[in-house]
Symmetry: C2
Subunit: 505 residues, 2 copies
Amino acid sequence: MAKQKKQPRPKAETPKGFRDYFGAEVVERQTMLRKIGEVYHRYGFDPLETSAVETVEALGKFLPDVDRPNEGVFAFQEDGGSDDGKWLALRYDMTAPLARVAAQFRERPLPGQEDSLPSPYRRYTMGPVWRNEKPGPGRFRQFYQCDADTVGAPSVAADAEICAMLADCLEAVGIERGDYVVRVNNRKVLNGVMEVAGLAGDDKEAARGIVLRAIDKMDRLGAGGVRDLLGDGRKDESGDFTKGAGISSANADKILAFVQATAGDNAATVSNLKSLTEGSDIGTQGVSELEQIASLLAAQGYGPDRIIIDPSVVRGLGYYTGPVYEAELTFDVQNEKGQTVQFGSVAGGGRYDDLVKRFTGQEVPATGVSIGVDRLLAALHATGKLKGEDAGPVIVTVMDRDRMAEYQAMVATLRNAGIRAEVYLGNPKNFGNQLKYADKRRSPVAIIQGSDEAARGVVQLKDLILGAKLAEDATLEEWKSQPAQTEVAVADLVAEVQAIIARHK
Amino acid sequence: MAKQKKQPRPKAETPKGFRDYFGAEVVERQTMLRKIGEVYHRYGFDPLETSAVETVEALGKFLPDVDRPNEGVFAFQEDGGSDDGKWLALRYDMTAPLARVAAQFRERPLPGQEDSLPSPYRRYTMGPVWRNEKPGPGRFRQFYQCDADTVGAPSVAADAEICAMLADCLEAVGIERGDYVVRVNNRKVLNGVMEVAGLAGDDKEAARGIVLRAIDKMDRLGAGGVRDLLGDGRKDESGDFTKGAGISSANADKILAFVQATAGDNAATVSNLKSLTEGSDIGTQGVSELEQIASLLAAQGYGPDRIIIDPSVVRGLGYYTGPVYEAELTFDVQNEKGQTVQFGSVAGGGRYDDLVKRFTGQEVPATGVSIGVDRLLAALHATGKLKGEDAGPVIVTVMDRDRMAEYQAMVATLRNAGIRAEVYLGNPKNFGNQLKYADKRRSPVAIIQGSDEAARGVVQLKDLILGAKLAEDATLEEWKSQPAQTEVAVADLVAEVQAIIARHK
């Protein structure tokens, strides 16, 4: 007989760059997304859930994140057959699918309905996106995005609305007022400043690109480094030289003045920007838009304690075409080096007017925001609002395997009262294992009923949270005065368990 | 100058076999999943969210669904580089990732935690899965699964628990008691019947496979067709011949008696099964397990009005190793041919004892259920519990573009009172378009304030639902007696809008 060849066993591992989420991690994220969704919904935004897969053709190149221009998508080819083996890919953000949907259903009816999309179309969406890039620490290839966009509304009222909504979202998930600020800038103001600084015209496109990349490095390089990049260029510590935009020192001053134009209040900032853009139509228009946004928001009660005009917001300026906004958390945290820093950005967005142009040729204005779900969760952990703990179930232990039906009846009574509860379903022989299991599940209460207790119509309740505390630091007196284990009548089971759980809330 | 080559525009289309979900569809599914998740959680199950991507190696071949054995996965190769270009794929169900996680974290600590998985491990999960198969009508390549499994609990108490939980889930989402039944069968009973029918032994494996496939066709072929397949074989209408299991007519009777053993109540069914499996240890054990499940469930109040022992459940018998369960909705619907039929299956599951064996060599018992999310949504639509409609926002119309800040303040007041509301952000010039938009959004109320109303401190409220009704069938008298448009003081805005919305609930 031929010897059967033994197959090597597959390795049980999460693919590189991906993550699994357990228990409290899932609950916390779901809860946060639900709260954000409720705010989006209240603002009149409609949910949209597109498929995770798009044709590569429809996906195109749409990445807003200039920091990572070379990253790819996970793509695969359709099986041939009668089809032509079309390439499909996992979505890498939520904007590309929105563009496809907006182009597809602007005039055609939605599947199974009579109507096409309304215009303006406000939609929100939340779900995973995928990036085919080298995994690194804290950088994952699948992560959540949670976006809201308004398509087809040219008015800056649409931008103002999204800024207000963003503030509401942050408060809805537990960020206190005063711990965040939404900063607003405008690409048109920068365009105006560039015009004033002699960077208008088709032949200056390359220089304008260098300026955009330079001011995006303000945080990292400071004004000096950015000035070098605006002028002749900059040699970094390794000796590598980056070519500059080659503009005069006076014009570089104007660009830097723009980035640093933030004043004590919105009116003063606007006044700074007005003088910086004097003589440029686009710049004047941009400043006026910022003024309008601030006034629309003030009318709704969103003052500069929550939303401020801030030309130092440069992230995304290269991508967006009008107003740009970013939500920052202003409380302090320790960074990896032990330094105290502000928590920083958790959401950003802006206006982009070429959403569906690739598909239809039409210019359709759009503005939208993306909330960084993982960053925001980290912030809520940093403030102690989230603890990474889920409420464990009450455990009904099994003293006597033959009375499983009674234990099941007990647990059903608890559940019917809304209490999370389960019967221990491992091997019940070793009672210590049952209590170890209860600990691992962070169970608040273990319920014990041997045949003796059953005969007397009682159960033992073991308060596991108190028990753990006593085991840690109680004196003998304390042990005696507040016993972690009590005997109660079966009829009082629900009320007594509820009392123990309430005591530890 | 060289003429620039014009790129053809990409086509805006949902990839073949995929779907987009809009508005109410998303809300309804999310609400349903949340309700099911709450039941799972109350039973002590912990949420798990694995990555959508698995290594092809870990994924293996695990498909439970024998109807579609040839379907594939969407797979792609890692970029080479230092790595060896590993193949990855989108998960095709939730069981394969559970097997990987259970093997990976049985003894190793969870990421960022001290503890490994508890044992038993009860977990639930909900999310999309992907199948690379030819799309067809109503057959999609991405769909939701919503599973709960218990890993490491050998006792049938774990199976009983899942049956009870399944009943609770159906009621939680709005299926009335009496409109569903959970049917329970056991693979071991079938094994026992096969043994009694002379189909034991390694040399009969092929015949047992034919028997399994034959009884799985009971619904379609009826007892006569199945009997042919158990015997010499069957010629179908097209003349194609399917080879039979070749067992004697007396033994075929035994198999058919098993499938048809359902009696008036569980006790009578058990009695039938006992005589059919007499002489087979495995069969006797299987019948005893069914008895235990019924008695455990009865102790918790789940009687045969909700959960019944039913040997006619054959779906999944080929895959599972012990108890098998299926939830069926028993109310009538019209099928595509206009016939009145029972709605049928919406969930199924069972016990399988080789979950992690591929990875670790250990036999770890597991039992679990998968709820067919789309089927259940369809059922809720069929019963009228879901209407496919989301509550539209109140629309604040724009009569006067310059007073946008006031409209924004108005809408903020409504939202702060918890009312879904938005300002019209399209071009306000044509007022008819604003009302058309409000209709498309299924808005309950439009708010109108021109400068005249503003001066008097009032707004006009247009009851759009009443308006639509009147427009359809009202007499002139009715128009006059219940005007669809009323004038109210700005101070009463919230209360009056709430009153209109409440009136139409």
